[in-house]
Amino acid sequence: MSTQAGSVREYFSALFDAITSTARAMYVTFKYVWAVKPVSIEYPEVREVLPDRARMRLFNDVLNCISCTQCAMACPVDCIYIASEKMPEGAEIKKTSNGQAIRLKLTQFTIDTALCCYCGLCTTVCPTECLTHSHDYEFSQYTVDHMKYDYLAPDVIAWRDRIVKS
């Protein structure tokens, strides 16, 4: 310590101060034994309800996607890979849920979630609002390659009901 008690009296007054101030602090902490509810959540059993706007894993509803690549342009870390080709001639032109015609056939829509920084810029530019942040936060994998999610894969499409915000 840089300050040292000069005399015996100072020494004992400092000792007294230390005991009283520590007792006051102990009184504050003692209240926590019964009077305050615990704030911690026992995670796997009890889950926190996330707010509506919570930004977790990205999910693309490929049935509504018009392959405009605006999300890939807006992405600051370039983690969205999109490929599309012309619709075969004579195919019927489907429409998205908000009435836009799907003129291109989406052949690849992959998001590298290991690269994603969860900023939410891609979801704000999406014209059909098919790219959204889901509330799914448990998607750890053993390798980095497994973090690339192809949203055209049948098993991911099968998750749709579970992942898409209602």
């Binding site: 840089s2 602090a25 704030v39 707010p51 706007r53 992405c75 969860y118 900023c119």
Partner: protein, 391 residues
């Protein structure tokens, strides 16, 4: 004449002599890169003479992410998530500084409600940041209870931010031209409740820690940074104010709407300890929490319904020029120097002047002659975030 290279016959080392036994040398000790006192990855190479520090050399660069260079390849909106990651404990303040620089170049008018919400979020963020500074500082010195109390309150702020922006720490909430989402009345009510709660909590912290004699003995008269030292190194924020100099950008060069609010600048008084020591830097932060609550309450009375997003072109192109914007962030003055080419979609150069970098450079000045335990207290009291230092 004796040659320079002729050193003569060397003396036979006397192994058993008394002087040989008592030979002393400085011990090199690496603190870090994973030391809790550094809030990140900072390595301080210290040369100690038994327990007294002789030199301390901070080694930086463990968290370097090329943020400045990377942002030269991003559009102006895309830089915001990267600016978040500068000081991840006060991301709102970082965003605001960058966005204010872009808006100044663009000449955008920000709606009043958005500007008020920015003030409110920045002040809430200041409280959250000071709570981390407070909690972890005391964790460095020994007690662990206070840390949990501080983080419990911080979590309430982060929850409010998560409800409005969608993320706990890296918000991407303040956008060019306004803010992303509006706060609902219910969320604003939560803020008002939080202010009441925080005021009670601040009193509790005083009883728990600030008035504790053991804590005072540990921090008072330790690591004194004089006002002249602060001027020499360019220190700002709580470090400068703790050394007794009254300087706060919110008061001295008011930006945004800060001239409308009534608040005091907290300065270290030296009532306990002496001006410029660890205790005064600490108590400045604790008092600033109270002042931030004052500002938030005034914002809540002034808020009126309205738009939160101004008119901004879809693709932001700035005219040729440069701007330097500085804001009072929780850790000091953050400066953003933005240079743009004519009609460029990306910044030509983005330079960040970080307050923590200047504070870290003050450590070699203060360290010599301290005990190692006091040295930990000194490093902790400057409240460094390495994300901002290394960028």
């Amino acid at each position: 004449m004796q040659s320079r290279w002729d050193i003569g016959t060397p003396e036979r080392p006397t192994i058993n002599s008394e002087t040989e036994k008592l030979k002393t040398e400085l011990l090199t000790l690496n603190m870090g890169p994973q030391h809790p006192a550094t809030h990140g990855v900072l390595r301080i190479e210290i040369k100690t003479d038994s327990e007294i520090v002789a030199h301390a050399i901070p080694h930086l660069g463990y968290l370097h992410r090329c943020m400045e260079k990377h942002s030269e390849h991003l559009d102006y909106r895309g830089v915001i998530p990267f600016v978040d990651r500068l000081d991840y404990l006060a991301a709102m303040s970082m965003e605001w500084t960058y966005v204010a620089a872009v808006e100044k170049m663009l000449g955008t008018e920000v709606p009043r409600r958005a500007e008020l919400l920015r003030v409110m979020t920045a002040e809430l963020q200041r409280i959250a940041s000071h709570l981390v500074a407070f909690g972890t500082y005391i964790l460095d010195l020994g007690p662990q209870t206070v840390f949990l109390y501080a983080f419990e309150m911080r979590e309430k702020i982060l929850r409010m931010f998560e409800e409005v922006s969608g993320a706990r720490m890296l918000y991407n909430y303040i956008w060019v031209g306004g803010v992303w989402n509006d706060w609902t009345d219910e969320q604003l009510k939560n803020v008002a409740n939080f202010c009441d709660e925080m005021e009670l909590e601040a009193k509790k912290y005083y009883d728990l820690n600030s008035s504790n004699q053991v804590f005072i003995k540990r921090t008072a008269h330790v690591g004194v940074m004089t006002t002249q030292d602060c001027f020499d190194f360019g220190a700002t924020g709580p470090v400068l104010r703790g050394s007794g100099f009254n300087w706060d950008l919110r008061k001295n060069q008011p930006y945004s709407l800060y001239n409308e609010f009534d608040f005091d600048v907290c300065v270290g008084t030296g009532e306990i300890g002496q001006v410029g020591d660890c205790y005064n830097r600490y108590i400045v932060r604790m008092n600033e929490v109270i002042e931030s609550i004052k500002i938030i309450r005034q914002v809540l009375t002034k808020l009126e319904p309205g738009s939160v997003m101004g008119k901004v072109p879809k693709i932001i192109k700035l005219p040729k020029g440069e701007v330097y914007m500085k804001h009072e962030c929780p850790r000091g003055e953050l400066g953003i120097h933005l240079v743009s080419e004519d009609g460029g979609k990306t910044p030509y150069r983005l330079k960040v002047k970080s307050p923590c970098f200047t504070h870290i450079s003050m450590i070699p000045r203060v360290a010599p002659g301290q005990m190692i335990a006091d040295f930990v207290a000194t490093v902790g009291s400057t409240d460094i975030v390495l994300g901002e230092v290394d960028r």
